[in-house]
């Protein structure tokens, strides 16, 4: 095994990232060592690159960043029972404790003692990476490593979409980023009567349409609420998925919702904003789910089912494939916003 490897570091508390040599890590008794084959750049990685307010508070340089990957197991600890050398794995970003109230009652995704891979602790943007067995996910080897490295947004979409019923329902999705278009695809594949996707960028609306949205609306050009009402015989949608992180989108969604409908909120808002709790929540009587991460491991099983049955093809949202050494270019593409997923091949 190589003793040195390439790794992308946040080296100092300042903007930017550097690629450097690092020691290949050694797995503990319940860990596996993987050779990384592909890694995706997430919006969170860009925040760390930019060294924004959130990163400054949370990320401890020097640290290898990155959390979306697919790799091959090349070494396993002596207590590992569920993985073999040669397995193609990805890993859940949330390194959960397994022992707190949340972990012990089915909510490990909001573990009280969670550590995030590539944020709080060593990340995966490197030739080799150590993965604790309890955060490892064994992939279907028929799917390509690039696609597998990009499955986390699909997992977020799975969690949001399936926090309630979908089949036979009309669904409004605000936001057409990678998670939003995965959500449109899932709703379509899961028997929604009609999927209405909304965004401000034509590039993204086109992607939503290709992935399965029945109707796409440009919120900058159309009266969203009016259009949704027309598309639903004046009843409003059964389900509203908020993936835009915009207070305006939130309000439009609530106004488009059928009384007694379902709302799942995944988007992140920059700050608190005014909500008409009385009319939009108490009187309208929806069920609202806050969506944080991906429920473990239900969402991974469902995501796998949709990928290996051929229902969801993530190749459609991978717009850029670059070499690991060109990571800087990948981050610039991400910052431009003119992309779906950007995947680095190692």
């Amino acid at each position: 095994m190589a003793e040195k490897m390439r790794a992308i570091f946040k080296e100092k508390p300042a903007p930017g990232l550097v690629m450097k040599q690092a020691d290949v890590p050694t797995p503990g008794p319940r860990d596996v060592l993987v050779k990384i084959l592909a890694a995706s750049i997430c919006g969170t990685d860009v925040h760390i690159y930019d060294w924004d307010e959130w990163s400054q508070k949370r990320v401890p340089p020097p640290i290898i960043i990155g959390h979306e990957f697919c790799g091959k197991v090349i070494e396993k600890g002596r207590d590992v029972t569920s993985l073999e050398i040669g397995d193609l794995i990805s890993g859940e970003t949330h390194l959960y404790c397994g022992l707190c109230y949340q972990c012990r009652t089915g909510d490990a995704h909001i573990c009280k003692n969670v550590k995030l891979r590539g944020v709080d602790t060593t990340g995966c943007f490197s030739d080799y990476h150590v993965v604790p067995e309890n955060t490892a996910w064994k992939n279907d080897p028929k799917i390509s490593p690039e696609v597998l490295s990009a499955q986390e947004p699909l997992g977020n979409a799975v969690f949001t979409v399936f926090s309630g019923e979908v089949a036979g329902k009309t669904i409004l999705i605000m936001g057409c980023g990678p998670i939003g278009v995965c959500a449109a695809a899932l709703c379509h594949q899961a028997g929604a009567e009609k999927v209405i996707s909304v965004d401000l960028k034509e590039f993204r609306l086109k992607m939503a349409k290709e992935m399965g949205a029945d109707v796409v609306l440009n919120a900058g050009e159309e009266d969203v609420v009016k259009r949704v009402m027309n598309e639903t015989d004046g009843e409003g949608v059964d389900v509203f998925l908020e993936m835009a992180g915009s207070p305006k989108a939130f309000k439009q969604g609530m106004d488009s919702l059928k009384p007694g409908g379902r709302v799942s909120l995944l988007g992140i808002y920059k700050k608190p904003f005014e909500v008409d709790v009385t009319n939009d929540i108490v009187f309208k009587a929806p069920v609202i789910h806050g969506i944080n991460g991906r429920k473990l491991w239900d969402t991974w099983y469902k995501a796998r089912a949709f990928m290996r049955s051929g229902r969801i093809d993530l190749n459609k949202i991978i717009t850029h494939r670059i070499k690991f050494d060109d990571f800087e270019k990948g981050f610039q593409i991400m910052k431009s916003g003119e992309c779906g997923k950007v995947v680095m091949k190692l």
Copy 2:
């Protein structure tokens, strides 16, 4: 049968109410005519008395008001099958159409075509009243008419409390009005580990304590969030029931909630207010239920079960019993706020 009867009218579009003679109404083929035995004054009736903004928009004088009652069936329409002369009944305030999407899918409490008894159509503050069979509820005759006339707030409490799990849970209830104290009683009776009730008035906190709250907090004197955290080993409560209609109470409740907990919102806020959706909903990942009215008829069955098993004694929240002719006094007591339920005997 008497041909004339006493009735409390909102006669003109102005503050105040008057008692007048009216014709005894005639039931249709699917209605029953009841002799009213007891009727309770609700906060909504006070709004109509005061002729506030909401009333001005909605209530069409001249109209008999009132919706909380218990009466005896003295005549039945020819198509009535589930009620008999002599039955002691109450009636659901929401006169639902039975045919809209909401009615046909278990949500008649948010019927699209709903008419409210005593608000949109003839009320029950009169010696006799016509009740459509499909809105009638047959009472247990072992319970007194006064108590039965006051069971609607219990129904609201039932809906709010049981919109999620209660047994073995820690529960925070903001607000100790009639619905809030009924909620405390229900949580206690349904196996909550700890019920924490919060209000600003000692009079109400005392009632909550008597009805079953384990801990009562005066929000004007104590740091609510800190106390709740202390009472829950720093984990926060499992369930937060908002029955105060105050943005401050809403925020304190969200801050006191365990990640992944349950929130049920019944309180009415005067206007929109700032909510930290990102931290309090998306990241904290609760399920939030908007609670409007009482789910039909599950809540009536549950309320009856708690009353007839002796678990809930609404006599404890009836603070005033007055004669029908003294209704004006009843409204003045309600306006003072120094009361639980005010019941008129006919």
Copy 3:
């Protein structure tokens, strides 16, 4: 309006049916009168034709039979609010009371006082038919009357399939009658990872395959449990839908089920049979749903959504279209078993 009409009667307590003239009925204040455009023959109608043990106990000759129809509203009672002359409607077979415990808590499909159209009371196999508004369903006029007359088995399938999760699940369906093949179609359309349909007849297996089954097994030729295990990586299926009414199919299904899976039982067994409750239920820990009829009206809304979005085309299961006057031929085809739905056009 015509004063006389054709109608199919069970005239005497003996096998057979006759077509006779009858008076066109008059709608009451909450009824509509419809001109029947198409009517489907159900297995229940065949039982009545044959005058089997069940029919002898339940059906009161002389009576017009039939319950699956689509017709046009030509007259409406004065209290009807949700339908207009010209509307294309079908009707729920279960004429529910709306007032019993089951009706009042969302379970009208198991109403305590239920009367079945065409079994307990006048049926729809006639030129004109009276439908109470509360059992009428307004159809999408873009769909053909023949298809609309055949939507009840789709409703049964909807109820069975969606009594639990489907998306991303592996599903075993025992039985490929009209309800079984509708179930296969629904599962496929609702995002199942894999749908395995089982029957003894190639004719039916072929229909299941066309409607969406991924794998079809002839239980007379293959080892069902072994095949299911192979198709599911040895885990067993997540969901087992029993639509065959065979004790052997029941056992094979339980043996093919993943521990903790879901079972929905719709098939009717001729008599009680041995069940290994300890191993197949207590230790295996599934959730089992008994499925009776169609939940009102959720199943109708979902069935409509699947039809009008083009996901389910019931034309594929209508194998025979005959004239009303040729009803006798229709019953003979039904008895042969070599058919899907048999629809009579009027």
Copy 4:
């Protein structure tokens, strides 16, 4: 620390148990070593004593048996984070793998690779015992070790009772063993309208009554179904909990159930038996849950809540407290059936 300890062994593949000296075990990095303070004898232990058919197939002598305990942590492995020296703990009997499908989707209680403490691997009937951190449960030190050693049947009861709604419901419990009487107590404490407990032994019925049953019936002397119908206004019970393991009890329960009710099956039947699936499941349309073990860790949290709030006092079901050295006497009492829980103090 002592180097030798007492331990109860199944030494040879034959009836009987012996107490012998054994080495005090050494905890691994994620284990704790506990000094056992109290241990309860379970029916399973009696089966192993008797060396019945099941034991012969499953238990590998020589092995220390026992799985219900309370002990104090006296040593902890270096990777243990959630426990401290001095903590009072119990342990879940099901040593789950944490990595199979069931474990990863909230069903660790039916782990595919489960090992049972004291059955498949070293048990706790010894002075010291090693407990993996992920199976340890930190107790409330205000509760006595004897009670804490007997909390597993409470956990089973919690799982069975709360697999559906309880508050305001009428509930039939077949069987008044330790789990059955805990179930009666839980139902009563969780707001059931009426709890009806059934058994054949007066001793057990008396215990059920003391723990909270409203009505107790001796199935040997009364017509159970008739009595249940009388107690429920002819509607039948909302919920049926089967904890007797008797086909007759199963049938009586199904006949006593309200259409659309809930059934939870925990009892173990010696062999398969005839079930009227058509009438009792398909037409009656209940939801049926197979109950295996205790859902992890929800049931432990709920059990703790009921114990530490004082709602459930397990002292009432501990009928015998004996010395560890007198274990033989304990097993004889268990075999007599004239007891609740038998606890050994160490």
